[in-house]
Point group: C2
Chain length 185, copies 2
DNA sequence: TACGTCATGTAACCGGTTACATGATTCA
DNA sequence: TGAATCATGTAACCGGTTACATGACGTA
């Protein structure tokens, strides 16, 4: 029994945010949803086609000046209803995120403490970069003129990213510290 | 160009923790690695077979009293080397974890604030349960006699889970609070 | 005899990425 | 003429789950 296909709803939702082409959807995902959802063209275009087939969206060929033609998709009423129904449906179990660093740490008695520390420091560095990305997106949303109603929710998702990333960074620092303390004994 | 196949290394690593059968590996994963890695039998058994084919492990049929026969796998020296090499290899980019709650929140202007709050509360409840699971595993590791060298690292991974979960729970509470404040204006 | 645990395995399916193909338009 | 951006699309592949099949052994 399958349950998810949340990607379909991600696209359904993005069609309400001013994105109406596969290309625009992809850009939006890479810019703003990147920290909790990502989709490739290999999914986007077939899904859009499917939405039309299911009567959840309509297409329309549009020619532009100075740019190639594009296909614009718009939600139908049925599509909007589908989105709202999904929004209210209870969430499934929290997905297990695969964490390569934790997996390595789990088996780290097989390597030197120094090697483990290097891994943790590298991880912290990456988390740090992520954190700054969140900051940058946050500034973009607050300064550029987006739909104000959407913006509040988008900032919430960024806050989530910042908080959990900050917690992970602290953990990194503390764990490195603890391993270093072993050495001194 | 593929990169990962970390699952192979997860199994390689688990063979050093006292697990020597596919069944035991599965149990270990469900009990202790569940929050950052999970593997189904559909991957375990074929992978074990592959490890032997690649000379990274050996098999041996063992009959037990009072239990069915089993196949015991042991790392070869080549297998141990493979594990150590992987441990020291730099981590790839941090994987994007798909978060259904954040996805819904992102589009939540399409539903009532009350519905959004319900979702967030349900999420917080699930995080809460996860937190208690971490606590339980932590107690198990500290009380039962495990390899002490392994135990320290295992506790680090649990600490990570607890800290990031705690941060997420706080975010939930604060976000609900903010949405409720809107109503009062 | 039926249930629970221990134990091994695989075929079908599915969500998703990667790599590739194509082509319009603009600008340096 | 060649690079950058805008734009659409798909076939091959892959990691992984699900559902199913099988069976030994102990215990109620």
């Amino acid at each position: 029994m399958k349950q998810t296909n949340n990607t379909k709803f991600a696209i359904l939702g993005l069609l309400t945010t001013g994105c109406h082409t596969g290309y625009a959807i992809k850009q939006m995902i890479d810019q703003s949803l990147n920290h909790f959802w990502k989709i490739s063209y290999g999914q986007i275009y077939p899904t859009l086609k499917q939405l039309v087939a299911d009567g959840l969206a309509t297409v329309q060929d549009t020619s532009q000046e100075g740019k190639p033609d594009k296909k614009e998709y718009f939600l139908t009423e049925k599509g909007e209803m589908e989105l709202r129904t999904w929004l209210q449906a209870p969430i499934n179990a929290i997905a297990t995120e695969k964490n390569e660093v934790l997996l390595k740490l789990f088996f780290s008695r097989h390597q030197s403490n120094q090697s483990t520390i290097i891994q943790l420091e590298q991880y912290r560095q990456k988390l740090h970069e992520h954190y700054h990305t969140y900051d940058a997106i946050e500034k973009m949303i607050t300064t550029e003129l987006f739909n104000k109603e959407d913006a509040a929710f988008w900032l919430f998702t960024l806050d989530y990213g910042k908080r959990t990333t900050a917690a992970a960074m602290e953990w990194c620092a503390d764990t490195v510290q603890q391993i270093q303390n072993w050495e001194e004994e």
